[in-house]
Amino acid sequence: MKQIQLKQVSKCFGNVEVIPPLDLQIEEGEFVVFVGPSGCGKSTLLRLIAGLEDVTTGQVLINGEDATAIPPAKRGLAMVFQSYALYPHMSVRKNIAFPLRMAGLDKAEQARRVEEAASVLNLTDYLDRRPGQLSGGQRQRVAIGRAIVREPTAFLFDEPLSNLDAALRVGMRLEISELHKRLATTMIYVTHDQVEAMTMADKIVVLQAGMIEQVGSPLDLYHKPCNTFVAGFIGSPKMNLLAGKEAAKHDAHTIGIRPEHVAISSTAGEWEGVVGVSEHLGSDTFIHVTCPVFSEPLTVRASGELDLTYGAKVYLTPDLAHLHKFDDLGIRLK
């Protein structure tokens, strides 16, 4: 069932068109991630769905009904903000209960739902503290708790993990994914971090300059990026995008090959190059190789502990089964 549908939705701020008309469908129970570089309009798109911004043209449909003119509170959506937006003068308990209190639920029901949400999120011990006395991860959980108690049709997350440190981010990523599996509620998640997008999403929407570049499952996007932007954005480290004579050999304007699909050898191979900086991650080593045939250096993954010194001569061989071809407009060639 299509739960949230955008029909020709566009948004202008003054004369600037931030989001040109676009269509998007979000199915029930899906975990959808909007991903794109800063300023690509992903947060604006989320705010349009939430109703915090008015659409300039088009329609937002929620559960098949036109919600374009419905105020945010009545859309049945809950949002988790980047800054968590907790109310600093209220205890955690009151923060979580706030939407219920506004909805006029009776005290006993409020207390029951708050306890329930707190136990799901391991917040039971902190219910009487103020947000100022909590760590970043705990505040994040309170913000999620405030969203859960409303039992919304869908959750909206606006870069919720960007204020956390790297280790905590990985942990919260798992927690949110787990929460999604448990609640089976639709979630729309905005991030600029493609790792978050790849690990959490059922469906990724890649945006650039307000336009949807590609919609698909993480592996779809990884294996079949529809243009050079998506190819370069998804995957870490980035795909090597190479233009020139070598690309012409494969009947393409640009060819793309991921670091993990290039074999490196010190004796023989297709492209000759010189080893630049190596990044050792333990399990993998990423080596930057400068090849005379390409204008830009390539990133190559070498598994294990390959012993290549700076300036050494190496040979690279691409795995042709994983070669991506793009035309002169950057569109994928079939």
Binding site: A85, L86, Y87, P88
Partner: protein
């Protein structure tokens, strides 16, 4: 200011200012205390020697003492209530994006730049004059008998004048506080189903608690010593004699420095009682 050396250097540098300020406070205070124990009548014999607590007893047993204390508290309380309530409302209004925002904000702040004597006289002669005042014309325009503001409703009139002067101060502080409210918090409250009134009472007002405390504390300090507005309007008549004004009358009109100084000491005590009371009631907002 980390090392021993820089700390002692800092102390040396700050010493002159600290000593000057201390002297500035201590000299008048000591002189007040000194005179309050003397019978000192500048035009009637000058220094007539020590009298112990005579002045203190006389000042309190005077029939004008308790009414003066009451008047002081009514004026301070009245002005605080009016400026805080109207200040919050005006700040909310000025926070809205409106055309000509900059000009409007400056206009709102303008009364604060008018000197107390001037504003007192303007109000007295141009607004509250029972014959030629603006209010008198207004009353007559609707066929009513003009009110003799400063004699029939003297205390409310004074509170009105002083509130007009202090409203910009309250508005300015509260406006900056409102502007510092995280917009995501407002949006979160909106998503959580709080309407305009809910957002105001659950999000904005608690956020303003600290700013309101600052406004109340600072205004109290200045309002306790209000003088010019009373001097130029009613000159202490019609029940507008505050403690400050009573002291002025004792020292300058009755030429009794000793009695006035005793009154000054009572004023210090009153100010401290009010301060302790305020810190108990609203001071805890500052700790958060």
């Amino acid at each position: 200011m980390a090392t021993q050396h820089s700390r002692s250097a800092a102390r040396m540098m700050m010493a002159p200012a600290t000593i000057l300020l201390l002297g500035w406070m201590l000299v008048p205070l000591t002189m007040t205390l000194y005179f309050s124990f003397k019978k000192y009548l500048p035009l009637r014999g000058g220094d007539l020697g020590w009298v112990g607590f005579d002045n203190y007893v006389r000042f309190v047993s005077s029939s004008s003492f308790w009414p003066a204390v009451a008047t002081t508290l009514v004026i301070v309380g009245g002005v605080l209530i009016i400026t805080v309530i109207l200040g919050v409302l005006l700040a909310l209004l000025l926070d809205q994006p409106i055309w000509g925002q900059g000009v409007v904000r400056i206009l709102v702040i303008a009364p604060f730049f008018v000197m107390p004597t001037v504003s007192g006289l303007v109000w007295k002669n141009m607004f509250m004059d029972p014959v030629n005042g603006f209010f008198a014309h207004l009353w007559r325009a609707v066929g009513a008998e003009p009110i003799q503001w400063l004699s029939q409703a003297s205390l409310p009139s004074l509170i009105m004048i002083i509130s007009w002067q202090w409203l910009p101060f309250a508005t300015l502080i509260l406006l900056t506080a409102i502007q510092s409210l995280d917009s995501e918090q407002r949006e979160a409250a909106e998503m959580d189903g709080a309407g305009p009134i809910g957002r105001f009472s659950f999000i904005i007002l608690p956020h303003l608690a600290r700013a309101i405390t600052v406004v109340v504390l600072i205004q109290t300090i200045f309002l306790l010593s209000i003088f010019a507005e009373i001097f130029v309007t009613t000159a202490g008549a019609f029940g507008t004699k505050t403690l400050t004004y009573l002291i002025f009358q004792r020292v300058l009109e009755s030429q009794n420095v000793g009695l006035g100084s005793a009154g000054g000491v009572y004023a210090i005590i009153l100010a401290n009682i009010v301060a302790i009371f305020l810190m108990r009631v609203v001071g805890k907002n500052l700790d958060r």
